[in-house]
């Protein structure tokens, strides 16, 4: 088989398994995303090893699937942004700020403490702490979308907190590396300055230039012109977030979505992009998270480390982000939901860990344990989040914005 035929085969298997698992998951009253993550584990090296099957001879196949999945998470966060309006976020600004900041500081501090207790020196223990800081809310956002809770107080607070979380983790990491490599305070200021420049530029472009461009394109005889424009802007914002702002690409695409959410073409973009996302890219993303894990790599040392780190990661986030939300003005129940929503880690945590492995700041066992922690936090978040909502009163958190009508294809959000 040619590499392309191998890709087709693997994509067909991934899409089929993802939808089947998602469906079974909803039948068991769990979020569809949980099933997709688990089926990824089964298809991964632990059991079937999809991208290294006997018929697969293309060594880059795994990379291609992974890149398609990464495109998926960019689109996913764009859609999350599209559903929001900026005043939603600013309204929940206070709770987001407290929750996002404490949600980083508490797990980082706990990780540092655990590292020190385990006999690591300050430098290594601090880095371990840092790997526990970065939340990835794409899983929670997806779960809340399925429950139609993304526009609730908790959903909006969560999305806002993720932005603070992202900024703070990158500041801490940059500061740490600047100090470790003998850098100056100047470097830290540069990092902060880059973020501010990116945020200012992207918001200014989105507010004052994007609406005009969108209006012009929508009138030209270009097939799927507005949708293509949205995809191009999404890619450019993701790129600029990384290159200009030094931030995560998903933060950029989330912002891009929010900007398009203010245009009259919002509905059309949402419809087309949801087709693109949920019928192709997003299932690949969720399955690929599982694909990248090999449970065989776990030995007893790793297992203990993994259990300890996971406990710290989960408790640290729930306590930190939860207490932050409470200080910010949420009820205890909402604060718990918020804390749980912040538990899942994602690619940022993995990237930080990879940097640490490459620079000798983490050994192989701790690295494996962190990879396991990222997976576990991702797996436990959807059911915990669902449980935290269902245990409460029938209407635990009323949607804040009632006047905005639901998109017609809302039923598509029922399941992944």
């Amino acid at each position: 088989m040619t590499p392309f035929l191998q890709l087709i085969l693997v994509l067909a298997i991934i899409l089929f398994s993802a939808k089947l698992a998602g469906f079974l998951s909803t039948k068991l009253r769990q979020p569809a995303v949980l099933g997709e993550l688990l089926v990824g584990l089964l298809l991964g090296p632990t059991l079937i090893d999809l991208t290294h099957m006997a018929v697969v001879t293309d060594t880059h196949l795994g990379e291609v699937v992974s890149e398609l999945g990464e495109l998926g998470v960019l689109v996913l966060m764009f859609l999350a942004g599209l559903e929001l309006e900026m005043r939603d976020l600013t309204r929940s600004g206070k709770v987001s700020a407290f929750s996002g900041i404490l949600g980083v500081l508490v797990p980082v501090g706990m990780g540092l403490l655990v590292g020190e207790i385990a006999g690591m020196d300050f430098s290594h223990a601090m880095f371990l702490g840092l790997t526990l800081g970065a939340t990835s809310v794409s899983i929670s956002a997806q779960t809340l979308m399925e429950m139609k809770m993304l526009r609730s107080r908790v959903g909006l607070g969560l999305l806002g907190a993720a932005v603070f979380d992202d900024i703070l983790v990158i500041l801490l990491l940059s500061g740490y590396l600047a100090i470790e490599t003998g850098g100056s305070g100047l470097q830290l200021i540069i990092v902060l300055g880059k973020m501010i420049i990116f945020l200012l530029l992207s918001v200014a472009f989105g507010l004052w230039i994007l609406p005009a461009i969108t209006r012009v394109i929508s009138r030209l005889p270009i097939s799927q012109g507005v949708l293509t424009l949205a995809i191009i802007i999404l890619l450019v914002y993701g790129l600029a977030a990384e290159l200009v702002g030094g931030m995560a690409a998903i933060t950029g695409t989330f912002l891009a979505g929010m900007m398009f959410g203010r245009t009259p073409e919002k509905g059309k973009i949402e419809e087309g992009l949801r087709a693109l996302a949920y019928a192709f890219f997003v299932p690949i993303f969720f399955v690929n998270i599982g694909l990248s894990v090999d449970l065989h790599a776990i030995n007893l040392t790793v297992l203990w480390l993994f259990l300890g780190i996971s406990a710290v990661a989960i408790l640290g986030k729930i306590i930190g982000a939860g207490v932050g939300a409470r200080i910010g003005g949420f009820t205890w129940r909402e604060s718990l939901q918020m804390g749980i929503g912040m538990v899942s880690r994602g690619e940022v945590g993995l990237i930080v860990a990879k940097v640490g492995l490459d620079q000798g700041l983490l050994n192989n066992n701790i690295f494996s344990a962190i990879v396991g922690m990222v997976l576990v936090t991702t797996l436990v978040t959807p059911p915990m989040l669902r449980a935290s909502f269902s245990k409460s009163q029938p209407h635990p958190t009323k949607p804040v914005i009632m006047e905005t009508k639901e998109p017609e294809s809302m039923s598509d959000q029922e399941a992944v």
Copy 2:
């Protein structure tokens, strides 16, 4: 930049350039696809060398872009199939058969003759002829879609002829290789048998099983369930065409589209898939054709070979397919349109040429000339086809099927 950021950058550039060039092309009253092909040439190694820019260090980037483009052509042929109904094709069966068969035999014979005149032995000359046989109608199908002529007599005849073309080229090539490698007539029968098995199985599945599956899926709470099903079946049909039938993957996805065209979910699938196709995959496909060409590789010998081979390729197809269509019952004008529509070559021609290069049946110069011929036939087909339609009376070929209503989003087909 990480490989993924490089991919994002290149995709953003490709999508932007493709839509801009397509738009300018329509302003000049040319098909949008022509602009997309030409902009691919500019972005390719000839001028800008997009996938090898200074910032691009990922050696697999070109492959990934190419694979995304190949997914695009699969989707494109699925959409072409979706627009048809089987009775359309059987109605144009006679003209398609004659045009498809003569459209292969004449250019193959002319190529053989030219090779013999140029002093090649029979075996090599015959192979040269074979590389000129395979039509790729995706470009013509796209051009006709833009002109809303895909469902005309010529459009339907063309799509049918492409199936005969595909079958005959593969039979001839298999027969040739069987004889060259000292195989028996048995191998030829096996090749033929495999095709028949694939066609029977895929049509039977499409007629009797697919409608039921589609009905069930459309009722389940799976997000974009029917659309994902269509994508999965599209991939599987493409795969099966190659692996079971030994045919081109695009023939398989074309069949898959025809099968879904019979389901009540046709409209929904078409809408979602068109978003997926025209806002992402298809522009990448057309640009990538240009990306794969390096005009610097042309020297004087190659230039002469290229001119000769291109002339034979263009004239051979127009004469062969045109005369075939006339015998089949078309008017002379329709026959000319049909002949022109069959001119463009594509990936099948390139694949055959690559096999010849690897097995020493073609030398490097002839191979380069054939690559150039594939590009030229692809570039000249859209404007020639458009001209052949506009020169005739206001309604040169009335749509055969009038009762079928146009899809609502037909305007999306205006431009690529």
